[in-house]
């Protein structure tokens, strides 16, 4: 297991090199001149040229690429063109908000998805099954920004129930603690609930369907019949044998979902003014803030690879048979 994990971690290097190159190429070929944007709407061409020179944007492409890789080799993601702060600082500032939202959303989604999927499988062909299937289809096909706005109108707005704050992360001046020299703030539960629920409802649709299908598949297996034959209670058969065996595809999906959301949930962050990574990535792309775009892509890739590794390692715990492989 340890060898496997180390091998996967070693693969991270080449993956990051390829992603770094692709990220650099992608932002390099985008139309629009970052120096022009930085110089303001009306600017003397001399000023634009000076800005271009300051940021090394006037160097030949290969030289720029060389500098970029050299910076990366020193674990330096550079400075943002726009707010002139280190990209690493900006990413670390926004990462906690994205992580908290992603973990909360996936946890909620797992709770809803597993519960509804299991209920649907047990009551296959009944109104419960039909309701879960219909509801999950609705969740899957609802645009996340629309769902977010509807939840705001229903639960936050002065015209709705007014139970939760409309947007934001928590009250101004809320205390923070320091980690690695950076102030970390946790959201207030009231602010976290609706964005997490928005993302969870969309993911829960897939999870419920996946859980239902996996449980139905496992319930047909011989070892389930054998367990029933040994006189085990239906709940023990379901909990100890069926659900555990059905978990692998569900955990894979939830893991990938977590990895994707940790990189920023752009639409949800926009609707709820959530200070996560998605918000800064969109802003960086619009402003052609190349170091921040490249740094964000690399951070997201690293996160994605690490979470998928954790998911893969969890298979061994869920299904001991896979440890041999």
């Amino acid at each position: 297991m340890i060898t496997y994990a180390l091998r996967r971690l070693l693969l991270l290097g080449p993956v990051l090199l390829v992603v770094a190159t692709l990220a650099w190429l992608a932002v390099f070929v985008l139309p629009g001149d970052p120096a022009r944007l930085l110089a303001g709407q009306t600017s003397d061409p001399e000023v634009i040229a000076r800005v271009r020179s300051d940021w090394g944007l006037d160097a030949p492409p290969l030289v720029q690429y060389g500098h970029y890789l050299s910076r990366l080799a020193h674990l330096d993601l550079g400075r943002s063109y726009v707010d002139r702060r280190p990209v690493t600082t900006i990413l670390l500032e926004h990462l906690p908000a994205s992580l908290v939202l992603a973990i909360s959303a996936v946890t909620l989604a797992l709770l809803i998805g597993l519960l509804c999927g299991t209920l649907a499988a047990i009551h296959r062909g009944t109104w419960i099954d039909a309701t879960v299937l219909g509801g999950s289809l609705l969740g899957l096909s609802t645009p996340v920004f629309w769902l977010g706005l509807m939840l705001v109108l229903a639960f936050s707005s002065s015209r709705g129930l007014g139970l939760f704050p409309v947007s934001g992360y928590g009250p101004a001046g809320a205390p923070s603690f320091h980690l690695l020299g950076l102030p970390i703030r946790l959201p207030s539960p009231g602010n976290l609930f609706l964005p997490a629920l928005t993302l969870a409802l969309v993911s829960a649709g897939s999870l419920a369907r996946m859980t239902r299908a996996a449980i139905l598949d496992v319930l047909r297996q011989d070892f389930i019949q054998a367990a029933r034959g040994r006189g085990l209670s239906p709940w023990r058969v379901l909990g100890r044998h069926a659900l555990r065996n059905a978990l692998i595809p569900v955990v894979t999906f939830a893991g990938l979902d977590l990895a994707a959301l940790a990189g920023g949930a752009i639409a949800t962050e926009s609707v709820f003014a959530w200070p996560g990574l998605g918000k800064i990535v969109v802003r960086a792309i619009h402003a052609r803030d190349l170091p921040l775009v490249e740094g964000s892509i690399l951070a997201m890739t690293t996160g994605f690879v690490l979470v998928t590794l954790l998911v893969d390692l969890s298979y061994g715990w869920i299904d001991p048979r896979t440890r041999k492989h």
Binding site: P31, D33, T42, V166, P275, A287
Partner: protein
């Protein structure tokens, strides 16, 4: 017993509820669409940054938010020499920075030198280019700016190369704020930290939580008296629908932008809370005067101007916001000419002009690509223009691009000019002077990124503007600017569309909110009081 307990509980709850229904806290919650890209005065080129910097800092002079006249700020008065080249500023005594030190003429000189210093890399160094020796200093050819002279601790003299009328207006821009050299002389790792962002403005920075909010608090020792507000919380909310719900739910006291399509309904729902007032800004489409089909074809440009129904655009598409554009200078700016009629909607005249232009009914005229940067509003207007122009046979294809790609397409990458023929533009005044429109946007000195993206050129126009900017008395300048403006309108330099009106939702308990033609983000907030609410 249980009855008494229940009654007590009900009474306590009712009292708590009653206590919570009112609020006398003097904290204004103001929405900004995003984090300010910078709060360093030298780098401010956008309204969001300016909205914050204007609270934290003060310059020698300022604009009166309502009349737009230049008024004293840190300088209590100034003298201008008879030839208009020497400005002597008398610094007010007792003005303190947020760190408690008194502001001196040396600070003002240091701040202005910093702005123009090539090492600072300010995009707004041009503000001081009229000062003697500023350009050689900026190019690294001189070690000092000769024209910035400290006469004594409270007197600063600025000498210009030649008379330049808009100079005071430029000095009133936030970029020319006065900074304490002991903190700003050595930039820290975090340029957003409160310890670094010391100024002498009415508020001081307390906290900036990126992508979330920024808090500024009243500066007790502000020279003009402590602000009536205790603090302002700028909340960064990009989504307009969310912002509106936040305002409705009471999470914002002022909302500076309103989602399109909601104005009519809002007027009915909130009545006077929706404020609307003219702003010094214009929205127009640029013709590229150096490429076909607009090059040398005034009749075609005029025909397009007559064909587009600006009245309809303002009344229906903009839901009663904005004013049809009749000239270059918007209402409120000195020199605005209410007698200019522009190009009222007249299809017959447009068709006649198409014949004169050599394209009767559009025959022989190739489809014209029209560019705009991605936005729901721009798209709606572009579609309307396309439909109006089809009525005179002008076929237009629409292309939308994100802002960076749009600028690249409009300005091109050739040395001389771009090849993009027809494109959206807008302009918000940097300072209330006709020069900020006529010289920046239409003078041939400023072709391309410097402001004249239409590549308009008329030697007589240039001569009039050059003459106007060399005079110091606005009374003498205005007739020249008006003549120049008339020429640009006759030339149909742009497709004139509308002058912006600003708008904001302001809660009824917010008192003294100034409706400034410079825009809601530029208006001073320090005199605002919040009634018990």
């Amino acid at each position: 017993m249980w009855r008494r307990t229940l009654a007590l509980l009900i009474l306590t709850t009712a009292a708590a509820c009653a206590a919570n229904t009112g609020n006398s806290d003097q904290t204004l919650r103001f929405r900004l669409r995003e984090d300010p890209p910078t709060i360093d005065p030298a780098f401010v080129t956008d309204q969001v940054s300016a909205a914050v910097v204007r609270r934290l800092h003060a310059g020698l002079v300022d604009f009166d938010p309502e009349t737009l006249a230049i008024i004293p700020r840190v300088a209590e008065r100034w003298d201008i020499s008879d030839d208009g080249t020497v400005y002597t500023f008398h610094i007010r005594k007792g003005v303190l920075f947020h760190n408690g030190r008194e502001v001196t003429a040396e600070d003002a000189a240091w701040s202005l030198r910093r702005l123009v210093n090539p090492a600072t890399r300010s995009q707004r160094a041009w503000i001081l280019s009229p000062v003697r020796g500023a350009t050689p200093f900026q190019k690294g050819e001189a070690e000092e700016v000769e024209g910035i002279i400290v006469e004594d601790p409270f007197t600063l003299r600025l000498e210009l190369e030649r008379p330049y009328a808009p100079f005071l207006g430029q000095l009133a821009m936030e970029n020319a704020s006065i900074l304490p050299r002991e903190t700003w002389g050595s930039p820290p790792a975090d340029p957003g930290s409160p310890a670094y962002n010391i100024g002498c403005g009415p508020f001081h920075l307390v906290e900036w939580v990126h992508s979330n909010y920024m808090t500024v608090a009243a500066f007790d020792d502000y020279y003009d008296g402590r602000p009536t507000l205790d603090r302002i919380i700028f909340r960064f909310i990009g989504n307009l629908s969310t912002s509106l719900e936040e305002y409705r739910a009471g999470g914002l006291d002022v909302l500076d932008e309103i989602v399109s399509g909601q104005r009519q309904a809002l007027r009915e729902q909130v009545g006077d809370e929706l404020r609307q007032w003219p702003q010094m800004a214009a929205y127009f489409f640029g013709f590229n005067h150096q490429v076909a089909p607009f090059k040398g074809n005034r009749a075609l440009r005029q025909a397009i101007n007559y064909a587009v129904d600006k009245e309809y655009i303002c009344r229906v598409l903009q839901e009663g916001k904005d004013i049809p554009q009749t000239g270059v200078l918007p209402p409120g700016i000195p020199g605005y000419n209410p007698d200019l009629k522009g190009y009222p909607h007249n299809l017959e005249k447009a068709k006649q002009l198409m014949v004169e232009a050599g394209y009767p009914g559009g025959a022989g005229l190739a489809e014209i690509p029209m560019l705009y940067n991605t936005s729901e509003n721009h798209q709606r207007l572009a579609t309307q223009i396309q439909s109006d122009l089809a009525k005179i046979g002008v076929r237009v294809s629409l292309r939308n691009l994100d802002w960076a790609s749009f600028l690249h397409a409009v300005e091109g990458n050739t040395k001389d000019h771009s090849e993009t023929p027809f494109f959206r533009l807008g302009w918000f005044a940097d300072y209330p002077d006709p020069d900020n429109f006529l010289y920046v946007l239409l003078h041939s000195d400023n072709w391309g990124p410097a402001g004249n993206n239409s590549l308009y050129s008329n030697p007589e126009f240039d001569r009039l503007v050059d003459e106007a900017r060399s005079l110091t008395d606005m009374k003498d300048r205005i007739p020249l600017y008006r003549q120049a403006e008339k020429l640009a309108v006759e030339d149909a330099a742009w497709l004139f569309l509308y002058f912006y009106e600003d708008e904001a939702l302001v809660k009824p308990y917010v008192r003294n909110f100034v409706l400034s033609p410079m825009g809601d983000q530029m208006a001073p907030l320090r005199n605002i009081t919040l009634d018990f609410h």
